[in-house]
């Protein structure tokens, strides 16, 4: 049984060239839970929420000014407009590009690859998608501020942090959702000038369907509507509030998550048969905390975790064990991770998962002592090309976690091409014959070793190692 390879690749992100032999796989993994650093230097150095929000505000201001002055502009000024817009947009995009590069560097360098992999898992579970203009700049910050600090705590805290981050509020339209009978909406209605702003159920529905209970677990449309009402008032300062912008507290900095009482639907809400009559934002918080420990949530999260560490059809005993653990501990995440490591199912050699482009690239880079890319390599663009653009799954469901999601013919060819390109850069500065036992460890088969040894050049050997059937899997 290839326990060393599985520890490094199924639980981790592939063995680093300087990692010692993993002679106690379970102990190695469990120790990482305590050693986890939620804010490694390269991540901590990234721009914060306010700087990112400022880029958006500047962009919006410029657009507004342009619109206002459009009539008075000379042809020359008009001709410059698209270029100006592009520059402002690129300031927003810069945050995305920088965060992408930092994410990769952190993953390649981390001494605690198991928790790092869990960061990626949870960021995908609570997916935001940067294909929405308002999310691009915040996507990396979302993972770093809402996900990273909470993966070693309770699921409920992780849930609340994810839901309250501006990226999530903007992505799932919460920032524009107003209570239909809120003081604000009532006032607009009474003036009769235009249609009163109202409810947007998007965030409430996705929290129930994707983030907690799971689809078709018994909640009704009425539950979704009531939950959406409970969430009203929660919005982002300075961005995307539209008509409600002037209700913003004077001291709120752009990009901050704020609760505005005048936007909140007054009164009690009944959700899943339980009555919530807390005042203000405590109402949504109470619903979230109940959803976070619901038995359906326990099962849903157990199923997703189990699939991630076993395969397309997670073994029922493992799912049951994780769900029981979740219920018993009230959603204590490190307890779930320890249960996973201690369970036999994730250590089975079959069935195996196919590495995602992200997992595969990270594990390749971890194996190499020499840099595989130039300093100017556009990491964000590279993953787009590989079919897994970072923080851009295109749906709040995140990237699907099945073999068929990533095992495609064009995808395979792309990996071979990237491996060849990397190998070309490395040339003979790495010896694939020595690298193979380190990287593939106890999963190295005589066939693969022989095939690599028979390569016609050091570079070809490296390409074959990274394209080998074992290394493509985890």
């Amino acid at each position: 049984m290839a326990v060393q390879y599985l520890a490094a690749n199924r639980f981790g992100l592939g063995r680093r060239f300087d990692d010692p032999v993993i002679d106690d796989p379970k102990g190695w993994l469990t120790r990482q839970l305590g050693d986890y650093d939620p804010a490694p230097a390269i991540i901590a150095a990234l721009a914060g929420r306010e700087a990112i929000a400022a880029a958006y505000v500047e962009y919006q201001d410029e657009r507004r000014t342009m619109r206002r002055e459009a009539a008075a502009m000379s042809d020359e000024e008009k001709a410059m407009e698209p270029e100006m817009r592009r520059l402002s947009r690129s300031a927003i995009r810069r945050h995305y590009v920088d965060a992408s590069a930092a994410r990769l560097s952190a993953a390649v360098a981390t001494p605690t690859p198991f928790p790092e992999r869990l960061v990626h898992f949870w960021a995908n579970h609570f997916a935001v998608s940067a294909d929405k203009q308002t999310v691009i700049g915040f996507a990396g910050n979302y993972e770093n501020e809402a996900i990273r600090p909470h993966i070693m705590g309770k699921f409920s805290d992780l849930l609340v942090a994810a839901v309250r981050h501006p990226a999530m509020l903007l992505y799932l339209d919460q920032a524009q959702s107003f209570g239909p009978d809120s003081p604000f909406a009532t006032r607009v209605r009474n003036r009769g000038k235009r249609q009163a702003p109202g409810l947007n159920e998007n965030l409430a529905r996705e929290i129930m369907e994707l983030h907690t209970l799971g689809v078709r677990t018994g909640y009704t449309q009425a539950d979704v509507t009531s939950f959406a009402k409970a969430l009203t008032g929660l919005t982002v300062a300075g961005l995307g509030l539209g008509a409600g912008q002037r209700l913003m507290p004077a001291d709120a900095r752009a990009g901050a998550t704020v609760f505005i009482e005048r936007l909140h639907e007054p009164g009690a809400q009944t959700i899943l048969g339980r009555r919530y009559d807390q005042p203000g934002e405590r109402q949504a918080d109470a619903v979230l905390r109940d959803l976070a420990i619901h038995p359906a949530t326990a099962k849903h999260i157990a199923g997703k975790l189990a699939r991630h560490f076993t395969g397309d059809t997670p073994p029922a005993p493992l799912v049951d064990r994780l769900a029981a653990d979740f219920l018993k501990t009230g959603g204590d995440l490190p307890s779930l991770y320890r249960t996973l490591v201690a369970s036999p199912e994730p250590w089975a050699t079959t069935p195996t998962m196919f590495k995602s482009p992200w997992d595969w690239t990270v594990s390749m880079l971890r194996a190499l002592k020499v840099p595989a890319f130039g300093e100017k390599q556009n990491i964000a663009a590279m993953f787009t090309q590989l079919g897994q653009p970072l923080w851009r799954p295109g749906s709040p469901a995140g990237y699907d976690d099945k073999v068929a999601t990533w095992a495609g013919s064009a995808a395979l060819m792309q990996r071979v091409e990237l491996a060849s390109r990397v190998a070309g850069r490395i040339g003979d500065r790495a010896d694939a014959r020595q690298l193979a036992p380190l990287v593939l460890a106890d999963a190295l088969t005589p066939d693969t070793a022989q095939a690599i040894a028979g390569a016609d050049s050091p570079g070809q050997g490296i390409a074959m190692l990274f394209a080998s059937p074992t290394f493509l899997r985890r």
Binding site: A407, S420, D456, Q460
Partner: protein, 373 residues
């Protein structure tokens, strides 16, 4: 900064546009001999390229595709050249083209990679040789005529041997690293997930890297590039050009025409680019095996056995001729009832042509290029 041609080749710098290269000025070389080996990866259909229109069984076997060569040049009483090869037809009239038909290597199965390995390696079985016939030929040539280069990202098997050769991969002309592909094919052979994925990936890439794109201009650019690397006094004397996209299992009519248009323009651009040196140039076009006599259910042909090889250049031994010990196409005359039967070794066609071109002893050439024969 203007780099010399050699430094461009050896440093592996790729130019953005292949077409920009001939803009450099180079003194035309004197007389040394030049050899260009163009491989058609994917098993080109010799029956569609040089069609035996005079064979009574041909029309029935090819059914709707029998008129694929309609409008093409009549080469003799039996054969018609595909109409997409107009420039090549001109060479034929000027006795600068020769077609060897019903030829095959010693390979008798129908795997591309094995077939290509035999064609390039010149061994008597797949993966029997780790050097290639061109690479071994280099050892027979005078030092001044040994400079060899492949327009490919890595040295193809055919060029491997004791003599150092260069490669050149312009970014505009994507080429598969055929050897890595072949090795991975072997590596994935027993993997139920990867084997079919890879098969389909390779097929797609073969189609994507064809020379028939852009109405033949891809081929013309490749020819121009090849000539520009061979014209200078210090340029390459031996070259290998890889072409993919010949695996016409379906929709052969359009695809083969596009491929041949590209090949025709490649040859034409090579001739133009080489100028006076064309007189001392031998171009050899060959494929790993042929395709079935009968058309399949999707307007294409499947993997077969014998095919056609082309010899082109200014000093051929038998230009303006189709040489064939024609086996006929009736079902009983076919190889295994389905393929054009090989009646001559491709190996001897190549060795004879090369020996004549370089004025070398044919026996010695044969023994060097094909030591297992």
């Amino acid at each position: 900064m203007i780099l010399s041609r050699r430094s461009i080749i050896l440093s592996g710098i790729t130019v953005a546009a292949a077409g920009a290269l001939p803009g450099f000025a180079y003194a035309a070389a004197g007389t040394p001999k030049r050899l260009v080996f163009i491989i058609q990866r994917g098993a080109a259909d010799g029956l569609g390229i040089v069609a035996p229109t005079g064979d009574p069984a041909f029309a029935a076997a090819r059914r709707a595709m029998a008129d694929e060569t309609a409008g093409g040049a009549k080469l003799d009483g039996m054969f018609t050249l595909h109409p997409a090869m107009a420039a090549t037809a001109g060479l034929y009239i000027g006795k600068q083209a020769h077609f060897a038909h019903a030829v095959a290597t010693a390979y008798r199965d129908r795997s591309h990679f094995d077939g290509q390995n035999m064609l390039e390696g010149g061994g008597s079985r797949p993966y029997g040789r780790d050097t290639g016939w061109v690479g071994r030929l280099l050892t027979l040539l005078p030092a001044a005529e040994r400079d060899a280069i492949a327009i490919a990202p890595a040295v193809p098997l055919a060029l491997r041997g004791t003599v150092q050769v260069g490669t050149y991969a312009p970014s505009r002309l994507p080429q598969a690293d055929a050897d890595l592909i072949a090795r991975l094919t072997a590596m994935y052979a027993d993997d139920p997930l990867l084997h079919p994925l890879w098969g389909s990936a390779v097929k797609t890439q073969e189609l994507a890297s064809d020379i028939g794109g852009d109405n033949g201009r891809n081929g013309a650019e490749l020819g121009k590039l090849a000539a520009s690397l061979m014209v200078p006094t210090d340029g390459a004397r031996v070259m290998m050009v890889e072409t993919g996209g010949w695996d016409t299992h379906s929709g052969q009519r359009g695809r083969l025409a596009a491929q041949l248009r590209g090949l025709d323009q490649l040859i034409s651009a090579l001739q133009t680019g080489l100028g006076p040196a064309w007189t001392d140039t031998l171009v050899l076009v060959a494929t790993e095996f042929g395709r079935t006599v009968e058309v399949n259910g999707t307007g294409g042909t499947d993997h077969g056995t014998a095919s056609t090889a082309m010899l082109l250049g200014g000093g051929l031994e038998a230009g303006g001729k189709v040489s064939a010990d024609w086996p006929g196409l009736s079902p009983t005359a076919r190889y295994e009832g389905r393929d054009l039967k090989p009646t001559r070794n491709l190996e001897s066609v190549i060795a004879t042509a090369v020996a004549h071109h370089y004025a070398l002893d044919p026996k010695r050439v044969m023994a060097t290029l094909y030591p297992d024969a």
